[in-house]
Amino acid sequence: MKSHRKKRLINVLLLSALSGAGVLMVLYALNSNLDYFFTPSELLTEEIPSNRRVKVGGMVQKGSVKRDNSTINFTITDYNKTVDVSYIGIVPDLFKEGSGVVVLGYLNNGEVDAEKVLAKHDENYMPPALQDK
């Protein structure tokens, strides 16, 4: 093999190895930072470590909203199973009993400590996972 060809081959191999390593690193970063989306029923059947951030979506159960100082507690239902949520902060304007909600947070003794509560910017919104039910 001629020397400049050999050099080019080495360059190409090096470049492929580097990009491969880069892609693997990005994938690794992705996999360790995913937020899984669950309905309350799924949440109860899956094993989820407490340091894993989860997204839980469903409807705010009627009559479940309680406030205690700056903490707000409520229950998310998928009309099958329920899960309790506690949150410190201001809930969005569209948050109300009987309408759709998505919370982002960590599991703690079967309860979700929410970091963020999202109500869809649309009064007719229904979480996609509940649409067929």
Partner: protein, 630 residues
């Protein structure tokens, strides 16, 4: 009647853009008379479309609710300003404006004479056919001219209240101007490839166009960030929402592009890379349109969920990519790779910078598309949020800034002289270390990555300050745009780090006349009023705040809009030199107390200031190019 005229003019314009494209195909593109014909044909098509749009604005202003889109998104109670901006508050009107801007860029480009007639005419042809593609998309899948029959509603629905805002009125147009502006470098580089004469310096020709589009994109993204900050009530400036990310990707690609445009003449490898980048930038802009307009990704921004629109756009992007990449590959042999880049030369650093931008774009693209792929494979819904992006962006940015400060001493076409070069860098490192100790003294303990960011931000700013001073003393030339933009980057890194570590918030339950305190700030709930306005009622809570010996009032509101019955919150913000005091109220509790959120957002203004510095640097580049031409 006027709606029909507006509609017909759009159809006619599409036909004439198609004619323009055909003229480019059949005429002798190097002849002066055909150039004139093509130019006129394009201008006619453009003016027809512009008049169609202006008529549409008139329809919106005069509350012509027989047009279904206007009836759904405007209201007779709206101020005139918002009647106009309601046009781009939803899908159809946004697409309409998008195409107006697309054809406007082509029109301005068309006004300039180019001594290479063939390439100029080819570019106009490419721009025309892209416009036709979008016009058909508008007329077939997203027709804004549809009429409500037989009776028009009296008042119309309303523009979403959170969109009734001056920043949001100008944010989409600026963003669209940026997105579609990259059609010029895209069309010109394709024309260059078709023409096949490699001695043509297309990179120089498209530079000012690309920088201008980049300036619009920078301002558009910043306006969106600013709006989200004060309107959504979360107090953040960036949420890594898919819609923000699809605007960030073309911005990153365009930033890489305008960096490497200036070094294209130095190496053939970089010339090839530039051609590819011009295709990537424009495709990413179109990809942004696809993501936002197809509603494929669950986002607070997604406007419409219409598979037909998504499929059309996806097919359109696929065709554009297929044709342009095919052309690119077939002309690959135009360049030999004999002219290699010297290692540790200025161009080698710019190539490296392009790799960093590439990694960021790739990761962002993965973050956006991975949930879709994952759901297809495992039928498990996932989302990718801030932790992933922080894990990628922080280290890559720090690496890139290390290369940036080293590259300042590098020379064109020559390897850096390691012994004699870095004296000014060492001085800046020393000053920055002192600065870091001072910051550490004020802030206390902080994570390592934040410490590194502070340090690199300081190094950039000091290194460029020393450069400016030394150039001034030695009466040497200073590249002002470069200094401005990179100092802006340094400031951006500093302010993001400071914001993330210093900012804090607290939620209180308060009744009128109660007082709470938080981090040297006292908040007194002084008054609650009910107000009636033209299109909404509101509850206004007034707080008297005492911070650092200064007293002032802040009045956040809750509003209820009549037309849709929608409730919104208005934040109240006091801007101080280094921090914002940011107040929102939630709902009233059963015991009469109100939920009140107090946030201290540090250095947030400096984030937008640094974006403004970057935009300004682009304007200086354009001014310099125009001056050297004149």
């Amino acid at each position: 009647m006027i709606a029909d005229i507006s509609h017909y003019l759009s159809i006619l314009s599409t036909a004439i853009f198609m004619l323009t494209f055909s003229l480019v195909l059949v005429l002798d593109r190097s002849a002066a008379h055909s150039t004139l014909l093509i130019k006129r044909s394009y201008s006619h098509a453009f003016f027809l479309f512009l008049i169609s749009f202006l008529l549409y604005v008139y329809l919106a202003l005069t509350d012509n609710f027989s047009v279904s889109y206007i009836a759904q998104h405007s209201n007779s109670l709206l101020p005139n300003f918002y009647k106009v901006t309601s046009i781009w508050s939803a899908h159809e009107g946004s697409m309409f404006l998008w195409i107006v801007f697309l054809s406007l860029w082509g029109f301005v480009f068309n006004l300039y004479n180019d001594n290479n007639l063939n390439v100029k005419n080819l570019s106009i042809g490419i721009i025309s056919i892209i416009i036709v593609g979008f016009q058909l998309f508008l007329l077939v899948t997203s027709n804004p001219f549809e009429i409500v029959l037989p009776f028009a509603p009296e008042n119309g629905a309303d523009i979403n209240p959170v969109l009734q805002d001056p920043a949001l009125a100008i944010h989409p147009p600026t963003l669209y101007l940026g997105y579609v502006g990259f059609v010029i470098p895209f069309a010109y580089s394709l024309a260059f490839l078709i023409n096949g004469n490699k001695s043509l310096n297309w990179e120089k020709k498209v530079k000012s166009w690309s920088v201008m589009a980049w300036v619009f994109l920078t301002i558009g993204i910043s306006l969106g960030s600013w709006w989200a900050y004060y309107e959504l009530g979360w107090g953040g400036y960036w949420f890594w929402d898919p819609v923000e990310n699809v605007a960030l990707m073309p911005w990153l690609a365009a930033t890489a592009f305008i960096h490497s445009l200036s070094v294209a003449s130095k190496s053939n490898v970089l010339r090839i890379w530039n051609l590819l980048l011009s295709i990537i930038v424009f495709s990413l802009s179109l990809f942004g349109a696809f993501i936002v307009r197809s509603g494929i990704i669950d986002s607070i921004h997604s406007f419409a969920n219409d598979p037909q629109r998504g499929m059309y756009l996806l097919a359109f992007i696929a065709i554009i990519l297929f044709v342009s990449l095919g052309l690119f590959i077939s002309r690959f042999s135009m360049f030999d790779s004999s002219k290699n880049i010297k290692s540790l030369s200025k161009e080698s650093f710019i190539s490296l910078n392009n790799i960093f931008f590439g990694v960021l774009i790739f990761s962002t693209m993965m973050g956006i598309t991975y949930p879709l792929i994952y759901e297809l494979l495992y039928s498990q819904k996932i989302s990718v949020g801030a932790p992933f992006y922080n894990a990628i962006y922080a280290p890559i940015t720090i690496l890139a800034t290390v290369m940036l400060v080293v590259s300042i001493d590098s020379k064109w076409g020559r390897t850096i002289d390691i012994k004699g070069s870095f004296s000014m860098l060492y001085v800046s490192l020393a000053i920055s270390l002192v600065g870091l100790v001072a910051i550490g003294y004020f802030i206390g303990e902080m994570p390592f990555i934040i410490m590194l960011s502070f340090f690199m931000g300081l190094v950039i700013i000091f290194r460029y300050s020393i450069l400016v001073i030394s150039n001034f003393l030695h009466k040497k030339y200073t590249n002002i745009p470069s200094v401005l933009a990179h100092t802006g980057l340094g400031l951006l890194i500093l302010s993001i780090s400071a914001n993330s570590i210093l900012s804090s918030e607290k939620v209180f339950n308060m009744k009128p006349n109660e007082t709470r305190s938080f981090q040297n700030i006292t908040v007194r709930f002084s008054e609650l009023e009910l107000l009636n306005n033209s299109n909404h009622d509101s509850i206004r809570a007034t707080f008297s705040i005492n911070s650092e010996g200064k007293s002032f009032f802040l009045s956040p509101e809750k509003r209820k809009y009549f037309a849709r019955g929608q409730i919104t919150s208005e934040t109240a913000i006091k801007i101080m030199p280094f921090k914002d005091i940011y107040l929102t109220i939630g709902e009233q509790l059963d015991n009469g107390q109100w939920v009140v959120n107090v946030q201290l957002n540090y250095f947030i203004r400096f984030i937008w200031l640094s974006a403004a510095m970057m935009a300004l640097s682009g304007l200086v580049i354009i001014k310099n190019i125009i001056r050297t031409k004149a």
